[in-house]
Assembly symmetry: C2
Homo-oligomer: 524 residues x 2
């Protein structure tokens, strides 16, 4: 279906219900619809046309939801940008998708000039902050105030939603990020599968808290699911444990989605005991499994909450597997299910296959492949990468895993040499390029090592050139000029030579071994 | 998605769970998959090819579910037939869709010869009864025993499910029934919307009871939803209140779908008190609203059950509106919601429009139109009727209604001159044709009148030719040779002349007035 279809239903059925709560702003569904229809008209008036791409670089706010709705409403396509990226990385994405307009908030408005220099096609800057509109930008509030509401252009398409909703950038194995083309159909199907998974997850009386960044597709699933069910959105600009606790208590938050590192910070927060968090009934976490001890503490801290783990990737519109709430309890734990990534979600087919795409027997390790109506259309401008990823109609995740007799998937390694750190994918090749460009580095390898906060931490093993030195601070300062902060090595280790295979490949398994000896993640 | 996709998921995740319970047969999901894959191979071996149509004429049983799965598995299309129809009506449908094969059970095997005479294309008769296979038929059990399991042919298509799943016949306003072409996508989306609607409706631990006939698309939604969630199916061949109560108690039934007339019979059944029905947690009813007194008694009889009303039609894959469980309770009742047909279900857009398809203001009467991914592809062999029904991309239901400020839809009349009796649509024109063909009838009009059991009852108003007589028994005997029993008038009224409009049309509003004076249904 069309992305906005569920929004129309919510407006029809509960026009007076609170749609957004952000800072001290509260807006009903009827008000939100009016703003969205005016903002869409404003975009059209600025010359944004069908299938033009409109990017957003902003922290979480109610304006982010308005952007998500107004762009397809105008018939255009979304490009929510990772705000942790460097100007160079963002510029690459904006040029790759030929975005014609860019929204920036107060945090990112100061970067606007540098961004404009870095990109070719953007000709409209829209300011969605709360202060004074900078010179050379159009204020979002002016667009809303000065335009009459327009009809939803996306509804003139068929209700199947086969059109592209947006380009969602994901890290690239070869150093450049890839623009994942997701249809309206893919995103809405995935969110609906999410809703169907659990009793009362993202229902019409849900108050959902956007803790994770709204540019990320995982949070976009929460956004979509709340739109489909007509629940209330609460936005927090950045993750701060005490602010999260305040928001939960103040707005009676029922549902949220986060990564284990955030859950850890929440249960460690001294302010926890002083807050009433009894309203929370569903916690969805993803990117990496949570440890049993973390879950124990989280369940104690949020006594009324059910916990769901999600496994997926942008290419499948976020949701592939789900570990249901009841598997987090005694019986599921005894079966070792907490170490799994769950089993296929509604509308999703998951298989473990060999390199010929033949299904492996249960218990045998192979690649996870995923199929269903929420698959991407492909990677923008990358037909070869698309063909490889979608070979035989299945998304090849690159992750190695085995499946047990009840369909639960246990990830044993990432074939793509990728680290999942604090919920973000970090491709080792990209970090290695940045590290290797330091003048002191002779050779290097980047691996993920266990980290209580981040799940995995980016770790560099480096051979120095003779007579040079390098410490963590210097390495970080260097890398930060090339790649986003979350991709930079958090720790480093110097050695005389990297262990090599006969074919001259670095044996990362050898490098990882000392860190992963009590395996949750199997070294192979 | 493909219709069988959810079935593969259920087999992967709970192979040992009970899939079907019928008579004393219990089969697990793994067993069911094996039987379905063999039966599909058997169909192919008989020469059934891609997009061939395979019909079924049978009471409810586990074999009906095997049919629903095996036919798409073989790459063919379903044609579940209304067993209440006359041989003439069934023959019409079989010829219209050019079905090549027909399944019959013990009840309908004796009609097989007459059916073969009435149709042109059927060349394979498959016996799915429990007795001895009649001469000239192939036994379904032999097909299962004698063929190796084949791969699911439907999975070679894209996961979007745009192919036709089957032809579902619905009554026709002009006397001939129409074959509604529904895609895999339409049927699965509709079932998923159903699952997403209510907490715990059709979940993996559901035990669903097929009370309504499985040929009917409403029950097919229950079938699909249970497949998607991997629940257990319990089949009863025909509706008998005591057998329903026995099945509920014996199999701990949790979910079921029925029409108000059946609910009435259940709560009236003397055996109710002696049965433990505490397992029932969800009751979905449809076709007509239930009275407050019936719901009161039903809620008392089934104390743990939530009640959901569905409104829809075959053309939208059954589900258009849903009246949620909580609207059946005190607040919803006080708002008069029990008289509504609910509001738009997940993935469904519902509007009230004028004859130019412009949306009417809230509270104003217009036609209900429906849009979403569960819309039919069209009517088989009827391009004009398709174009009319799907004008501007919306399904024009022909039902007149108004919408309140929270999206609830109140039906005031059926524009198509249709009666909904005991859950079946009866088109007045078709009944009038049958009545008028009686030699004693000079002119006639058929209307629906209120009926405690059936919701509406088919009622004939007749002007006799001079010197003739006609009673209910004689009229019924005559009509039964032309149309299904449920379409025949249950009561008749003789008069000297029918009230006519200036343009010579029968004023049915005048005829209905005496029966509908305390309106639930508005006379207009």
């Amino acid at each position: 279906m069309q992305f906005t279809q569920g929004f129309h239903r919510a407006v029809q059925q509960r026009p007076q219900q609170t749609a957004t709560l952000c800072n001290d702003r509260r807006r009903s569904y009827a008000e939100l619809k009016d703003r969205v229809a005016r903002l869409a008209a404003g975009l059209c008036q600025l010359g944004v046309r069908d299938t033009n791409r409109v990017a957003m670089l902003a922290l979480n706010s109610d304006h982010y939801l308005e952007y998500y709705l107004a762009v397809p409403w105008a018939g255009a396509q979304l490009v929510p940008l990772n705000f942790r990226w460097s100007v160079e990385e963002i510029g690459y994405a904006l040029n790759d998708c030929e975005a014609v307009a860019l929204f920036v908030d107060d945090t990112f408005a100061p970067q606007a000039d540098a961004l404009l220099d870095a990109c070719t096609y953007v000709r409209i800057l829209i300011y969605c902050g709360d202060g004074k509109c900078p010179e050379g930008m159009v204020a979002m509030e002016d667009l809303i105030a000065q335009n009459e509401p327009m009809e939803d252009a996306s509804l003139s398409n068929s209700p199947l939603g086969e059109e592209v909703l947006g380009v969602f950038y994901t890290g690239g194995t070869t150093g450049k990020s890839k623009g994942v083309l997701l249809s309206h159909r893919a995103v809405t199907n995935s969110a609906l599968a999410f809703i169907a998974e659990g009793a009362n997850v993202f229902s019409s009386n849900s108050v959902g808290l956007h803790i994770a960044p709204m540019f990320h597709l995982a949070d976009a699933m929460q956004t979509t699911a709340l739109i489909l069910s007509g629940g209330t959105h609460v936005m927090l600009p950045v993750f701060r444990p005490d602010a999260v606790l305040d928001a939960i208590q103040r707005h009676h938050v029922t549902d949220t989605l986060l990564v284990p590192a955030m859950l850890q910070a929440l249960v460690d927060c001294p302010a926890l005991a002083a807050h009433d968090v009894s309203s929370v009934r569903n916690v969805l976490y993803g990117a990496s499994p949570a440890s049993e001890s973390l879950l124990d503490r989280a369940m104690k801290a949020l006594p009324n909450a059910s916990f769901y783990q999600g496994y997926g990737m942008t290419e499948v519109a976020a949701v592939g597997c789900i570990l249901p709430a009841h598997e987090h309890l005694a019986e599921g734990r005894a079966m070792g299910r907490l170490r799994s990534a769950g089993h296929a979600a509604q509308q999703v087919m998951v298989r473990i296959v060999d390199d010929q795409d033949h299904e492996k027997a249960r218990g045998e390790i192979g690649e996870i492949v995923i199929r269903g109506p929420s698959l991407m259309d492909g990677y923008l401008n990358q037909p070869e990468a698309t063909a490889t990823a979608l070979k035989n109609g299945w998304m090849h995740t690159g992750d190695l895993a085995y499946m047990d007799d009840e369909g639960f998937v246990y990830i044993v390694d990432r074939a793509k040499d990728m680290i999942v750190s604090g919920g973000e994918n970090v491709y080792c090749a990209e970090v290695e390029n940045a590290v290797a460009s330091h003048p002191a580095v002779a050779s290097c390898a980047v691996i993920g090592v266990p980290d209580e906060q981040l799940g995995e931490r980016v770790h560099a093993v480096i051979v120095l050139k003779p007579g040079t030195t390098l410490d963590q601070a210097a390495l970080n300062a260097h890398c930060r000029t090339h790649i986003a902060g979350y991709k930079c090595p958090r720790s480093l280790e110097l050695c005389d030579a990297l262990p090599m295979s006969g074919a001259g490949k670095v044996l990362k398994t050898e490098l990882r071994k000392p860190y992963w000896s009590n395996l949750k993640r199997q070294v192979n």
